[in-house]
Structure formats: C-alpha cells, structure tokens
Symmetry: C2
C-alpha cells in the first residue's frame, strides 16, 4: 500500500537477488506457493515480498507483450434499462471471477452509435465482446465479423450466432396460457420493438398459446413500441383509441406494462377489475405495483453469456442457451 505503486517486477527481482524472469513465472503460476518454477524457499520469498510491497503488475506492459488485454467489451442498448443493467451485473460478476474486467457502452439501439462504440472498444484491444443490442436479423454484426474478435449475444438472439437468452417463446406461452385460463377473449398485446427476438419470440409464444384456446389476436390488437414506460403508454393509447377497452393485456416488458397501467388509470380503469394485465421480466417495481409478470433470469443471462464467451475465446465449440422463465402471479391478473 505504498504511494501509487511504483514497485516493478525488476525492482522486486533486484531486492530478492533474482532475475525478473523467475519472479514473473512464479507470480503468474496459478499454483502459487508451490510453483514448479523455483524452490519452495524462493517461492515463499517472492510471494511474501510481493504482497509486502503491494506489487501490482503493470497490465499495460503485460498486455503489450502478450497481446491480450483482459478486457471484455459489453454493448447494451441502454444501461438505464433495469433489465440490461442487471444482465450487465451478471456479466461483470462472472468476468471478475474469470480474471477479466468488463467495459460497457450504450448503443441506444442506433446503428451509427453502435458502430462507434464497438470501434472504440476494439481500439482498446478487448479480448471478447458481449452484445446485448443485436436485432433478429443480425444486421449490426457485419462490421464485427470482419474483425475476428470472439463475441456472443445476450438477451436478444440472432440465428447463426451463439447467444444466451431467456426462452422468450416459452415466456410468451406462459402469459398466454394464464390469460386464456382467466376466460378472457378480447386481448391486447404490447409487443415492444419489432425486429428484436425478445419481441418476436414472446409474441409468437403468446399468440400460439391463445390460438390453442381458440382466442384470436388480430393485428389491430397488437402495438409495437419502446421497452420503456413511455413506449408502453404510447402503444396503450393507440390501441385504446383504435380498438376500445380490452379484457386483458400482455406487455412484453414490465415498464411498458406500468406505463399502460398509468394510461388505464387516467381512464378510470384499473387492474385486475377492469382489465387483466401481465408484464415481463419481473423487475422490482412489478412487485411494488402487484404486477403479474413473467420472470426472466436476467442476472443468469449475463453470467452465462460471459461463460459462453470464455468458451469461444478458448476456441471450444459452443451452442446457444435458452434459460427458462417462470410465471409470477400477483394481483393484476
């Protein structure tokens, strides 16, 4: 714990009367105390002096030599979004366990911004990339594939690329089954951003489950929009305007659901009395307002995303994972 660690490998070696190479090998050996690179006695001396002097390797010198940075880039649409923030926490946690440090960037779901952010991360010589903002068609991936940095997708999937996501199709089904079980007939769907697998899959699962129960979902009962409260409000207003009041609503995102709830309240409508409402993700606020919702394993998605990435970085073949969601029944449906 000295002033701004100025203790170097060479310094250590000198102090110990050893050569830097030996000290380096011992310090880097995972075996630690009983590294095979030096005598037990020497091992001990190196380790203790290093910790005494608070030696911390200069990551730049090391990276320069090894051409590995120990950095993992993460790009998300927006960190303000609780869902992505949670996923990132999972990534960060797992990254730390594997000795990496994660660096995030917001793409705002804007291709230009996306490319700029990715480039900036590349310039930092990241060892791998985790993408949380990839559309279903994978259109933002072309620039990345040209460089040959390993990457994996999280939250949103795109066919042909390794990803870890929630099983959104199943999630949609859970919501559909539940609502169908409630005996409703006229239902609205706040579908989120089209082109994203989260929307596409949840929508597919939902409509299919409804169909199996003889409930049909005309296009006029579906509205796309943002995944946030504002997006939910807006979509809700449009549907209300065009098709009147429904018996039930499925919003593919809790925030959108809460936005919808606000709009309903304006009209003097409340859930579940006037209309059943189910959301998606189970964010803390859902608990706060008693929202019935589909819980997605956000944190796990992040963790496993990172793990999948280290696999691909190690050159091992990987396959995408889908984590199961779970229906959480509260009061709104």
């Amino acid at each position: 714990m000295s002033k701004r660690s100025t203790v170097t490998l060479k310094g250590l070696a000198q102090e110990l009367g050893l050569s830097p190479s030996t000290v380096s090998r011992v310090l880097n050996d995972a075996a630690g105390e009983d590294s095979r690179w030096a005598s037990p006695e020497t091992n001990r001396r190196i380790l203790t002096l290093a910790s005494e002097l608070g030696y911390a390797k200069n990551p730049y010198a090391a990276s320069l030599r090894t051409a590995r940075s120990g950095l993992i880039g993460v790009v998300v649409p927006r960190l303000q979004d609780y869902v992505l923030a949670t996923i990132y926490e999972g990534v960060d946690e797992a990254a730390a366990e594997h000795g990496y440090v994660a660096v995030v960037a917001n793409s705002l779901d804007n291709p230009v911004s996306h490319d700029a952010r990715v480039r900036k991360l590349m310039d930092r010589r990241i060892d791998g990339l985790i993408l949380g903002d990839t559309p279903f068609d994978g259109s933002t991936l072309t620039a990345i594939e040209r460089e040959d940095v390993p990457f994996v997708l999280v939250n949103r999937r795109s066919p042909g690329h390794p990803s870890v996501t929630c099983n959104d199709y199943l999630g949609g089904r859970l919501a559909g089954e539940h609502l169908a079980g409630l005996g409703v007939e006229k239902v609205f769907l706040l579908a989120g951003k089209d082109r994203m697998s989260t929307s596409i899959d949840r929508t597919a699962g939902f409509t299919e489950a409804l169909a199996e129960h003889g409930i049909e979902l005309p296009a006029s009962h579906i509205a796309t929009g943002g995944f946030d409260a504002e997006g939910g409000e807006e979509a809700m207003r449009r549907l209300l305007e065009a098709s009147g009041v429904p018996e039930a609503i499925f919003a593919v995102n809790d925030f959108a659901a809460i936005g919808a709830l606000g709009v309903l309240a304006e009209r003097g409508l409340s859930a579940p009395e006037d209309v059943k409402l189910v959301g998606y993700n189970d964010t803390p606020l859902a608990g706060g307002v008693g929202l019935t919702t589909v819980r997605s394993p956000m944190h796990q998605i992040g963790r496993q995303g990172l793990e999948l990435l280290v696999e691909t970085m190690a050159g091992r073949p990987v396959e995408s994972r889908q984590l199961d969601p779970e229906l959480v029944i509260r009061t709104t449906a």
Copy 2:
C-alpha cells in the same frame, strides 16, 4: 478496416519511408493536417495512409511509455439504480468527449466490496476516479487518499472533498414548501439511508421548510431505509404501523415513493385523495404514475463530475458544485 488491426506505427513509418518518431508526433498532434512536425506534404501522406490502413494505436504500448491509461474509474452503489445509471451515462458521455473511457464498478454500498473494486481499478492504472457511493463522513475515502489518484465525488457529497451534487437541501425545501402550501399538518418522511448526504440534506431542507410554516416533524414520523421500492415499502409499513395514516408523505427517492404508493394501495388508500405524496429525482416511472417529484439533474451531475475530474487531473484547483433541482407537480400532490 483490415483483419484485427495488425498495422503498427513502425509499419506505417516503413511504408512511408519515415521514422516512427515523426509519424507518432504527427498522428498525436491535435493540429492534424497542419501539424508543425512535418511538411504539409508529409502530414497529408501520414494521415491518409493511417486512415487507409485503419491504423489504431496500441493503447498499451502508449500507456506503458506515458504512464497514463486514459481510463477513468467510476464506482457506484449499484448500476441497477436508475439514478446512478443515469449519472454514469453522463460521466461516460463526457469522458468520451475528453478522450477517456470510463469503467464502472458496483460497490453495493459495502465497504469491503468498495475497497476491492477500487483496488481492482487502481491495478488497471486508472488516471482518475469518480465516486458515487461516498457516505457523508467520507469513511470510504481513507484508502483512496493514500494512493494519490485524483478523484471527485458525485451525487453524494462529503465535506472537504470536491464533489458535484444536486442541491439536495434546496430540493428538500421545494418539497416542504409545496406540501406546506397544501395545508397538511401530519406528514411522514421516508428519509433513505442515513449517513448519506442525499438523505441528510434533503431531510434538512424539508424539515426546515416545514418548520417555517409551523409544521413540526417528530422523529416518530421519519423512517430510514433503502433508496429502492422495497426500502420504501418497508419504511412505509413501519410508519403506518406506529403512527397511523398521515396527510402527506415525502420520499427522498421516486422508487421509495412508488413502493409507498403500493403499500397505501393495499390499505385502500390512494394519492392524492387520501394522502399527498411527493418523490425525488423524477425518474421516468414518476411520470408513468403521475408522481409529483423533485427533478434532479442526474445526467448533468455525471457530466460535470467528469469535467471536475479532468480539472483536478490537470492540477487546477477546483471547487464543488451544487446543481439546482426543480419541482415537478403532477397528480399525487
């Protein structure tokens, strides 16, 4: 845009028939096209070839030589918190403008975790540090002051250290004045975590404003707790249990306010009919549920925090800044 940029400074120089030093100076000169380090002709040749080949300097080699990393560390209690996520976005944005890249870490408001995260950032040789999790007494700062890395506080202040915060005292006053103007007498305060300036200052401003209107706030009407929905629920329950139903409530955080709203709803109480409610920060959800709240300039706090940091890194003297909040009246009060 070649494969994983393997083009180096030396390579560029060779290609151009120049020495690396010249190329380096020109490339690093902010003057760009008309750098004074080489002839106009040479300047042009260097710049164009560099961009043609997609040359990106190896930041590790550069950092090794210059002992500057271009990295700014940011530690926040939790990125899941919308407020901190927004502040971070501000930091990140301003950092990019100044040529830095920001790296975040969650401390969870846990001293052990805090120290570990800071250490990890230090090991990465960050050039500066932005702290969003400092308690009023500055107790988490001792380890940091020992190293001599420049740092600034954001969101929460601590006397004697440079910080940029919301003028929370004023924010508290705004809430107090507003509620007093509504003619209420029995009011509750959900004060958040004690020991944090955000709580302390908002509480002080609020109670003083009330006092000026002859309204007193006994200790039994104040509850501390987390800054999230859960914390708000819990605190609300305790107060309700101990002191009955109030006429008004000020929660120092929107999420806590929404949590309280949920608890009120359970009891069949609603705002503003049964009880007036005002929150703090003006997060998007506040708009969604019609919450009257004090808007704090979160994004700006982040931006200016970074700017204050670059000032101190440049060795210039700085002083703390307090940004003014603004009352946003919606429906709950």
